[in-house]
Symmetry: C2
Subunit: 226 residues, 2 copies
């Protein structure tokens, strides 16, 4: 049984790559930089976006919001008056645990690509499968909360390894945790040497400036309007 | 493409149910109660087990530890001198994001079933797919940390709906969070009315007695030695 299963997954990944390339071509034609934004559930992706999307000079940000069910995060972001598109992954059984290229493609006609320079795709909260499926992104960012423990890079290495930046969030809670920040940064470096890391608190705003600069840099590098 | 994908999943779930029933029969013959123990990454499953496994009078506990990679949690638990078996899900690409019945079956011959009354299967940290795959368990428990926000039951309903108990962990952090515990409990009740809930801090020990009682009750109800 196991061999069969692996074969199906490889075929699915191959098809996914084909569709991701088509997405990528469409985004390039529209001049839109796409960020695949990932984390475990509750790490603070949406709160960090709330702190960011209206404070990137010259960059118009849109969000594609991926969730198993509901539109709570999309509602939060839409209140900031930016274009938000909701994508739910629950057409069958418990719902998909990740976005793939075809799901993003199915949302393509709903995306106001001529109104945005940077499209942030907020993936389903999960540290495993979202890292396995390209969606046509230019860059990948992940958020890792200090409440999750120092061991997560070692337990979920593909996620940390395929990201262009690791954002360490909720540092306002450090005084109340038994948590060794240096150990987390060491573990990140073990699985992805020299990856960019940004340490911040989306709640207090500490360190968020570096995240805004990273976003602006990525969008500029990809040629979006600045 | 989407239809094809759904079909594959349904076939996989059907095969999974068949193997889960076989696992269940083996566990029943051995007189072992099996708990499928789930959460998002870093919610505190292992810390809670560390607080529990040696303090259940008359119950011998063993752990089957599911991780994408590594054996850090198994090492922590083995130091408590209980039988621990490690199951890694990374034979291919980024690793499986959940345990399924066949993975548990592949570990069956390594499990010291005659030495345990309660086998806790610590699933991969993920709020989506682990809920979709039966492994042959008698009961399901999940841990939800207050650092993850109040909205998780609404975003990941299947996980909350298929559990026999929801453990709300890390309440020692409540004074430092903008978090409404009543709202979380209300949301849990919305997706799974009248499910057992236990509010605790695995770190300080507050409320952990109720969790020990729940485990003892489940093991007794299933006929394990008490």
């Amino acid at each position: 049984m196991h061999r069969t299963k692996v074969t199906v997954v490889e075929e699915a990944l191959d098809a996914n790559n084909t569709i991701a390339a088509a997405n990528r071509a469409d985004f390039d034609r529209a001049g839109v930089t796409v960020l695949n934004f990932m984390s475990a559930p509750g790490a603070g992706k949406t709160t960090l976006l709330e702190r960011t999307v209206n404070e990137l000079p010259g960059l118009r940000v849109g969000v594609l919001e991926g969730d198993v069910q509901g539109s709570m995060d999309a509602d939060r972001l839409a209140s900031l008056h930016i274009p938000v598109t909701q994508l739910n992954t629950d057409p069958s059984f418990g719902g998909e645990c990740h976005l793939d290229a075809n799901m993003v493609r199915s949302a393509m006609s709903s995306l106001p690509l001529d109104e945005v320079d940077l499209l942030v795709v907020e993936n389903v909260g999960n540290l495993v499968c979202p890292a396995e499926f390209k969606i046509g992104e230019d860059a990948r960012a992940m958020v890792c909360s200090v409440t999750e423990g120092e061991d997560k890079p070692l337990k979920y290495p593909l996620m940390f390894r395929t990201c262009d930046v690791v954002v360490v969030n909720k540092i306002d809670l450090l005084p109340h945790l038994e948590f060794d920040l240096d150990r987390l940064l060491y573990n990140i470096d073990q699985v992805h040497p020299d990856v960019d890391t940004i340490v911040l608190s989306a709640r207090t705003g500490e360190g968020v400036g570096a995240w805004r600069e990273w976003l602006s840099r990525v969008a500029t590098r990809q040629g979006a309007a600045v």
